[in-house]
């Protein structure tokens, strides 16, 4: 693998072979060792992305880079519609608008400890997780779902599932424009209807945490974070509806790509021009699925608030700090031109002064939420001008796996991971043992390494660290 060091945490892969542009990646020494250990498989995936038509230099990955399918996880790629730029459903991923949202409170950790067991049970009861249907007391008609696909969580908030203020604290106001329920198949509707307000499984979770350390007082104050205060981090996406949208459009784009002269070095990168009937249809369907995901996290937040109220916190507000996507394609202005930015396991991280941000965040930048593994910590960062200059306003989205799911399960076979977590003061409630085992701490890189590279490279500013108290998993 041919690359050169540009700075302490930044590297360049010069254009070669079919690459249209240079690629760049961010890594600490530790992350670089991990990349070498996997024989640079994810950097080769980055090189593949750089072959796609209309890509704007550079093709990028964030410090939490790891091996994906098609795009590497942590991949960021911008395409210019006026230069034949493409859109790739595989570059967004099956879980369209998979993302995270953070709720904050002024509840002290000590206060929560007294009700921790009851709260863990109440959350597991209130928030449907694992496989199967949602809550029996929440039903939605096909017409109501169509409204959510166009409007996102706003109709839910109108029905009492949230606070009006929530909407302004969601990326893009919780609504991607151009959504068209007509671009969604009957199968996608069928799969989505019973799954709105469900967490899912795998690496999706709900975590009750506390602020363990504040690095940037000014930004923490703006975000409403103070040492010792309790937070709730929710990680979920567009469920079966989004998976169905991606499946259908990857196949359609495989058929379309040769007609537009798009050469694919990996079929999962199936792509069509943004300005083509296929590209426009996908963007309508993707926006619908993205709005579903924003609404999904909204409903889960409502159930979370109910669970807190049920254990005696009814007078204590859970305020939405921010909700953001990490699997998406969005039109944005960068360096004076409109480009379609794909983020596959990467976070939009706009800097200070971004008009869309809530007023109280204007001076510090967009909140960037970076979950770690369930046994250690997660981080809150702020978007930077550096990210706007270098990464199309993007930053890391998580710790990144280092162990396959199979290896993790094998390593956990003779252990009691839930018991080990309890010993550390973390209560786990999960539908089954398998997802807990495969998500154990050791299966992930240390999120602190990712944050070191992100902060060090100036593409995200460290604000606070959060430690888990309760973990709910599917």
């Amino acid at each position: 693998m041919n690359f050169e060091r540009l700075g302490q945490y930044k590297y360049r892969i010069p254009r070669e072979g079919k690459m249209q542009v240079d690629a760049a990646f961010y890594a600490s020494e530790k992350i670089l060792d991990d990349l070498e250990a996997e024989d640079y498989a994810s950097l080769r995936q980055l090189q593949n992305v750089a072959t796609l038509p209309g890509i704007v230099e550079p093709a990028l990955t964030m410090p939490d880079i790891h091996w994906g399918y098609g795009f590497p996880i942590g991949g960021v790629a911008a395409f210019d519609p006026k230069e034949g730029g493409i859109v790739s459903p595989g570059g967004v991923g099956f879980d369209v608008n998979c993302g995270v949202r953070l709720l904050t409170s002024e509840i002290d950790r000590e206060e929560l400890e007294l009700r921790k067991d009851r709260l863990a049970d109440a959350l597991y009861e209130a928030v449907p997780s694992g496989m199967g249907r949602g809550r029996t007391d929440f039903r939605m008609s096909r017409e109501e779902l169509a409204e959510v696909l166009v409007e996102g969580p706003a109709p839910l908030v109108e029905r009492g599932f949230g606070e009006a203020e929530d909407l302004g604290h969601i990326e893009s106001g919780g609504k991607l424009s151009g959504a068209d329920p007509g671009a969604i198949s009957a199968r996608a509707y069928e799969r989505g209807l019973p799954q709105l307000g469900t967490l899912g499984s795998g690496n999706h979770f709900l975590e009750v945490q506390y602020v363990d350390e504040v690095y940037d007082e000014q930004a923490a104050e703006a975000f409403g974070l103070r040492e010792g205060w309790v937070t709730v981090l929710i990680h979920s996406g567009s469920r079966g509806l989004g998976h169905q949208v991606c499946q259908e459009y990857v196949e359609r784009f495989l058929e379309a790509a040769p007609r537009y002269g798009v050469e694919l070095v990996d079929r999962q990168l199936a792509a069509a021009p943004i300005e083509s009937p296929e590209g426009e249809d996908y963007l309508r369907a993707m926006a619908s699925a993205a709005n579903f995901a924003f609404a999904n996290r909204q409903l889960i937040s409502h159930f979370t608030r109910e669970a807190f109220a049920s254990v005696g916190f009814e007078e204590r507000r859970l305020r939405l700090l921010y909700d953001l996507a990490h699997n998406n394609a969005k039109f944005e202005m960068h360096a004076g031109r409109e480009v379609l930015v794909h983020r596959k396991g990467a976070t939009r991280a706009f800097g200070p002064g971004t008009a869309e941000l809530p007023e109280e965040y204007h001076s510090v930048g967009q909140p960037v939420l970076v979950p770690g593994d369930m046994g250690r910590y997660s981080f809150v960062l702020a978007g930077t001008e550096g990210a706007m200059r270098e990464t199309f306003g993007s930053s890391a989205h998580g710790a990144g796996r280092k162990m396959s799911r199979r290896k993790a399960k094998k390593a956990a076979r003779d252990r009691d991971v839930v018991g080990e977590m309890r010993e550390k003061g973390i209560l786990v409630r999960a539908a089954g043992r398998a997802t807990v085992d495969e998500e154990m701490s050791e299966a992930y890189k240390d999120a602190a390494d990712v944050i070191e590279a992100t902060h060090g490279a100036g593409i995200g500013r460290r604000v606070a660290r959060l430690r888990p108290l309760i973990v709910v998993k599917g």
Binding site: G240, L254, S404
Partner: protein
């Protein structure tokens, strides 16, 4: 099974293409469950077509995933017939028998999002048919 860092994959071998598709069904159940059921009494039918064998395998796995996760039907057995139509790509007809999903009893392993086209391969040589598939989980 393949060791993919973020996801799950498998490599399959079989003497006929029909057997290869049935092996893919078995492998999918091994990803979804620790102890997949071996028999069932319910019946279902599937008809699929695709421009090529690889896409047909992806569609087959995605259809089976849908049956397990959204219809609550675990396909414990399959009679598969594959046909190649000149100029139209291969098609598949399958009669499935299966059992209702029992998460705890079968040791459910977590949701499968989709079969992917990344590194996908369906081919044959002197030893028979083989396939390689990576699932997004």
């Amino acid at each position: 099974m393949l060791d993919h860092t973020a996801d799950v994959g498998f490599e399959l071998r079989a003497s006929t293409l029909e057997e290869l598709f049935d092996e893919a069904r078995r492998a999918l159940l091994m990803v979804a469950f620790e102890r997949p059921p071996q028999a069932g009494a319910d019946e279902r039918g599937i008809q699929l077509s695709a421009p090529d064998r690889e896409t047909l395998l992806v569609r087959w796995l995605n259809e089976l995933t849908y049956l397990v996760q959204d219809a609550g039907f675990v396909p414990t057995g399959a009679q598969i017939r594959l046909q190649g139509t000149a100029g139209a790509g291969p098609s598949l007809k399958a009669s499935l028998i299966g059992a209702p999903v029992l998460l705890e009893e079968y040791g459910w392993q977590g949701e499968i999002k989709s079969a992917t086209f990344h590194g996908l391969d369906v081919s044959n040589d002197d030893e028979g048919w083989h396939a390689r598939v990576i699932l997004d989980v």
